[in-house]
């Protein structure tokens, strides 16, 4: 007796009993409780936050509402389009908001990037509308406990302390760690804020993420960014993933790759671990962590040996390949390759063959390559392979460098970097003048804000702020040590050398956390350390920032597409947007007016906040270098409203008129991927694939950038004759454009008189009207940044031709002898930096710490993890910190799957009472017997002890665990100060 029910029936109540009986019965049965979802959460102890909430009624309106009765669509329903705030894929989300409460989340099938798809994090995004475990109001650390305080009081105390420090020790005594979580407008504003404060001591996640990529790639061919897009990978015939675990770190990118695979693309994964990405590959190659250069040269060896390189391409568009070839053929014979990376000749040959026979072939890399002391060289070795195969600047080819955070690309482009102003304008006075003019602030005034001589000197990096605090004063390259620190949307457990970080934290005078979550910083700061190391005057403040769903702004996905996030809900609790906080601090610090001169203000919760659209317009007016100028808020928003007109493979719009504004979308690439040249009015469509000579520059075509002069060692650096973007008036290589070149070519007259006046004495990057760009591109089909060769040899780097060098902590003394690291550096980003002395001292470390320790990502958590570990929907899926260990290594140590173990690393050996990191052993073949892997998203345990009591009450994340970076060791990239997080050593023993 099967019962059926029509889904469409308005009232589908059980058909069995009817009428009165039914009603009676149902009434009766209501007395027996069914499962009450949120209430269950609360009862199970997860909802501690909610308990507090009840007593703080004024603050909890929205958050509580989100917890209460389900919304049924009877209230006022709005749909807000936003973008997932976790990784750089940039998946669009439709947030359904009812009466101001975020009640549902719908997939956006129209998005060409994700077609409605989400990984665990994106699908759980709505939890941001609950925010039970958020930092709810400003707090201050008093006698080891966090106490609530008012915003006014907090801002007052913090700024007073800042001014005091500035007076005593100069503006460089404060370091501000910014965030790739900020939207473009906030990231840009923070860099501006720092400049007006008078310091370059600021940085963000990109440093410890893709800094080596950005530097390496920009120095190879022009821009430090992914050349193609996730979508374009559908056109690839072969793909080599080396040091990327996209299935976990960029899950939705896999939809494009798997589709490509179905149409015949061959997929190769090179990784020390057999990852979930490897599980999808046609070929998996296991290498020793830290040995990518050897492997890539092993592949190149076969490419050169078999003449598989694209000779025409190399001749026309690449500088120095012959030198690389010599190096590879001489030094990287198959035996040497195998000795270093463990891969035999047959395998490297097979990889070379697949890549060569299936062109266009693409190459993907990520943290497996970047996070090394030789990261800059590793990524260049990858570039060289792609250049040799002629894959760069081709659809289906390219270097698909998967970026990290949702807006790390944007924050790198226009955000808080210690060595550049927005748009990679160097720290020269000219750059400051360019921005001073845009900001409407007097250059001399800005200069005075800086300590003398410090304006043009790159600041310290986030990877080294610890040393900025702890290093001997005479050894650092600025007057004072660091005394104040802001963690403005950045976790502490993402930086290496956690043990020393605790000491540094205790020594500070001022520590401010601006974050929606209290973050591990709060717990680490409150946790008692050595009393002797604690600065008695230290002040610690926590300021609640709102998330990106409580404000609006633009963010740049990995493929350089810019998307606009609408505000989903009003800021929860007492939180405020980052740009509001910046403005309010600036007001109190005395540069409020200068900061917001060009912006209108809007009221949020009754307070003034700069309008994000205006900040973007200011960016549009000055960031010419990388073409952040065509993406006006209006154009981006039109894209967001009309995602369906963009082709999923090419990202290009086929027709389409935005109903709201009448804007014609035809020909635009989705999100106007930068460079989107010139003014918005020029209607450049953006650039889907960089350096693609098969297209006209006005269709997103291009060529390599001329950024390194025109000649080197008697060889021209410009592209060979006949190699140019389609339809270019200049068919030879040419340098970048400035007023002189324009005049020489006789194109000057194509500028209007007013434009000529503004552009005189300027180049394309500083011409305030963008007229040089317009004339060059629109009228002559040329590229404003010139047409040059990519550099296989980057002569301004420590290793012009990438060299394999053993990590500082290596288990292979034989290889240390053959491939030693660099010499120590005296003043590097203002700090002494050690290489050889560390490696020498530890060359036999493998005897006591025989396992190679590497770290990386789990799909459910992100970054330091406080945000995602506070999300119960995600937290449930990873409830314990663990270490992946091979059965052999485990058996030798008497460890069985699921056992608790102590992981110890060299820095811990120095501390007698420090036992290590207590984690669960996951015995698996994923890693080989010499390697172990730990996820890096955990924090909140320290030396085996749960720190939950040091968090502000009710705000500790649902899941806590040992942070792997408590154990990571010293080691920094020789160009960018990238920290070594992928290759170090450890020992593991079973916990009693």
């Amino acid at each position: 007796m099967l019962l059926t029910r029509k889904t469409s029936a308005a009232n589908g109540a059980s058909a069995r009993s009817s009428g009165l009986v039914h009603h009676l019965a149902r009434g009766l049965s209501h007395a027996v409780p069914t499962i009450d979802r949120r209430a269950f959460l609360r009862r199970s102890g997860l909802g501690v936050g909610a308990g507090i909430a009840a007593s703080q009624l004024t603050l909890v309106r929205k958050a509580e509402a989100a917890e209460k009765a389900p919304a049924t669509g009877t209230g006022k329903v709005e749909v807000k389009r936003t973008v997932c705030g976790h990784c750089s894929v940039g998946c669009a989300v439709d947030a359904v908001v009812e009466n101001g409460v975020w009640v549902r989340q719908e997939p956006v099938f129209d998005s060409p990037i994700n077609l409605g798809a989400h990984c665990a994090k994106g699908a759980a995004l709505r939890e941001h509308g609950h925010g039970e475990f958020r930092l709810k109001y400003p707090m201050k650390l008093v006698n080891g406990k966090y106490q609530r305080m008012s915003w006014d009081q907090a801002l007052q105390e913090i700024t007073a302390k800042m001014l005091e420090l500035k007076k005593a020790s100069g503006p460089d005594s404060i370091f501000v760690v910014g965030s790739s979580k900020h939207n473009n407008e906030q990231a840009y504003l923070l860099r501006k804020w720092l400049s007006l404060w008078g310091s370059n001591n600021t940085d963000h996640q990109a440093r410890i993420c893709h800094s080596t990529t950005v530097a390496g790639v920009a120095n190879t061919w022009g821009y430090g960014a992914m050349t193609n897009s996730y979508n374009d990978m559908q056109n690839a015939k072969a793909a080599l993933y080396i040091g990327s675990n996209a299935a976990e770190a960029h899950p939705v990118s896999m939809v494009h790759m798997l589709h490509a695979k179905e149409t015949g693309c061959k997929m190769i994964v090179v990784d020390p671990r057999f990852t979930r990405t490897a599980a999808k590959a046609d070929e998996y190659v296991r290498i020793r962590s830290g040995s990518d250069i050897a492997f890539l040269y092993g592949v190149l060896y076969h490419v050169f040996k078999n003449g598989w390189e694209d000779k025409q391409y190399v001749n026309d568009r690449v500088f120095g390949m012959d030198k690389v070839r010599e190096e590879v053929m001489a030094k990287w014979t198959p035996e040497k390759v195998q000795e270093v990376c463990g891969v035999d000749e047959a395998t490297t040959l097979k990889v070379a063959r697949i890549m060569a026979e299936n062109r266009p072939s693409t190459l993907v890399w990520c943290m497996g390559q970047t996070q090394h002391t030789i990261g800059n060289a590793m990524v260049r070795a990858s570039c060289i392979l792609q250049l040799a195969l002629g894959n760069i600047g081709k659809s289906g080819g390219g270097a698909n460098i998967f970026r990290g955070h949702d807006n790390v690309q944007g924050a790198t482009d226009v955000g808080p970097n210690p060595d550049s102003l927005p748009g990679y304008y160097g720290l020269a006075e000219g750059s400051f003048k360019h921005f001073a003019a845009t900001w409407g602030v007097d250059f001399e005034w800005i200069k005075k804000q800086y300590a003398p001589g410090m304006m043009t000197k790159p600041g310290m990096t986030v990877s080294r702020w610890i040393d900025g605090v702890l290093e001997k004063n005479e050894l650092i390259d600025q007057d004072s040590n660091l005394r104040g620190l802001f963690f403005w949307g950045h976790a502490p457990n993402s930086q290496t050398r956690g043990l020393e970080m605790k000491t540094a934290m205790d020594k500070l005078d001022l520590l401010v956390v601006v974050d929606p979550y209290p973050s591990a910083t709060a717990a680490m700061a409150a946790m008692p350390g050595k009393p002797s190391e604690l600065n008695p005057n230290r002040a610690v403040y926590l300021l609640p920032a709102c998330t990106q769903f409580e404000t609006s702004g633009s963010c740049t996905a990995s493929n350089r597409s810019i998307q606009w996030r609408e505000k989903v809900i009003e800021p929860l609790w007492e939180s405020r947007s980052d740009h509001m906080i910046m403005y309010q601090l600036a007001e109190k610090l005395g540069f409020g007016k200068e900061l917001v001169k060009n912006y209108k203000m809007q009221k949020v919760k009754g307070m003034d906040e700069p309008v994000p659209e205006d900040i973007l317009r200011e960016i549009n007016k000055c960031v010419w270098t990388i073409g952040y100028t065509g993406q006006s808020p209006e154009r981006i928003k039109a894209h967001m409203r009309n995602m369906h007109v963009f082709d999923v493979k090419s990202l290009r719009a086929k027709g389409g008129i935005d109903k709201e504004t009448g804007y014609s979308l035809d020909g635009d690439y989705f999100g106007l991927p930068w460079p989107c040249w010139g003014t918005p009015e020029m209607k450049h469509p953006g650039t889907a694939n960089l350096y693609d000579t098969s297209l006209n520059v006005m269709d997103g075509g291009g060529n390599f950038r001329a950024n390194f002069g025109v000649e080197r060692d008697g060889q021209s650096l410009l592209a060979a004759d006949g190699s140019h973007s389609k339809g270019s008036d200049l068919t030879t290589g040419y340098p970048e454009f400035d007023h002189v070149l324009l005049k020489k070519l006789g194109w000057w007259s194509e500028l209007s008189e007013a434009e000529q006046k503004a552009a005189d004495g300027k180049n394309w990057k500083t011409d305030p009207t963008g007229a040089i760009i317009r004339v060059v591109m629109k009228n002559h089909g040329c590229h404003p940044f010139g047409n040059a060769k990519a550099r296989a040899v980057v002569w301004n780097f420590p290793d012009p031709i990438p060299q394999h060098r053993e990590p500082l902590y290596s288990t292979r003394p034989d290889l240390i002898a053959k491939y030693p690291t660099h010499d120590d550096k005296r003043a590097f980003w203002r700090l002494p930096t050690l290489y050889k002395s560390v490696q020498e001292k530890n060359k036999d470390i493998g005897k006591t710490f025989p396992l190679v320790m590497t770290s990386g990502r789990l799909v459910e958590y992100e970054g330091g993890g406080e945000e995602t570990r506070s999300n119960p929907w995600l937290a449930e899926l990873q409830q314990e910190m663990f270490v992946e260990i091979n059965p052999k290594a485990a058996n030798d140590r008497g460890i069985r799957d699921g056992d608790q173990v102590w992981v110890r690393t060299p820095p811990m050996a120095a501390l007698p009472d420090f036992k290590g990191m207590k984690v669960r052993a996951m015995v698996t073949e994923r890693v080989d017997a010499a390697t172990v892997f730990l996820p890096f998203h955990f924090s909140g345990h320290w030396n085996g002890v749960d720190l939950s009591k040091y968090y502000p009450e009710g705000a500790e994340p649902v899941i806590r665990g040992e942070a792997v970076n408590t154990g990571t060791t010293y080691g920094y990239d020789s160009v960018t100060m990238m920290q070594e997080t992928k290759t170090t050593v450890c020992q593991i023993e079973k916990a009693a």
Partner: protein, 357 residues
Amino acid sequence: QAPASTAAANAQNGPPAGFVAPAEPKPDENNAARERSQPGNNAPFWRGVRQSGEQAGITNLPGVEKGVLIQEFVRYPGSDHTNAGEAWRQVRNHWIIPYGGSLMLIVLLALALFFFGRGRMGHEHPEGGRIERFTPFERAAHWLNAIAFVLLAVSGIVMAFGKFFLLPVLGSSIFGTLTYGLKTLHNFVGPLFAVTLVVIILTFIKDNFPQPGDWAWIKKAGGMFSKQEVPSHRFNAGEKLIFWGGVLALGLTVVASGLVLDHLVPSLVFTRGAMQIAHMFHAIAAVLMMCAFFGHIYLGTIGMRGAYGAMRRGYVSEGWAKEHHELWYEDIRAGKIPAQRSGQGSAAKPAPRTREA
């Protein structure tokens, strides 16, 4: 440039020169090997899915059997060889419920026929006898146990069979609510029953050991059909059979399996397989026990005159004792067994009493 692409090979028919056919798949190879020998054939993987009951997969969610995709394949008595869930369903729905239900109906019917055919057994005896048949402790234990049993039986019957006779009458909501209540009751009364059952067993075991005369009693079925009762000790062989079979064997089985179903056995992992097995034992034993106790209850109430009073008030008359438990009566008369065992205030050391009647 790239060597001749495979596309060229596409155009022509038949294998190109030098084509080596992939290796023949081997039946026992794992999925990785199979992917090479027969790309796209995931048979080993799907076999793995089928066998995940024995070799579970990995999943992020903690908890028992989360890595099992399909329950282990088994054959329970009476079922096909199929996944355990389905096998259990077959055992329950094809055997326990229909045959168990029928058996119980048959027993009830037989008792009814017996009652109408034979009527109440035994003779009337004056009330207020002097022989103490059951001490207050024995009676308390018995009645607690009996009440628990009745509650369990009623709730159990509703759970197992209610949907056939109650659901159509009450409608799903009332039936659901009622059953929810009864099921909860069952779950809590069960452990109470377990405790009292143990007490009962300990108290009555001594007088239930086989004794001379039991065999004779059995051979004549207690004289049930001959109108002449066969002499027995304190408990006759019929009662002893109920004791050993019904109370001890079935009772303990029901209790043990019930405790498993109740998640009350410490350190046992409550897998679905464990629950299925426990359920089958429980349900079968419960049905048999109910059948047995239908008889016991019948005799203890309307079936046998004076029996109820004995358990109710504890005392029987000499006549009753002589009629039904002659050997016991003689022992009492012989002073081997005291007629009054629960001493006033000192039940522990009952003073031997002289015969009074």
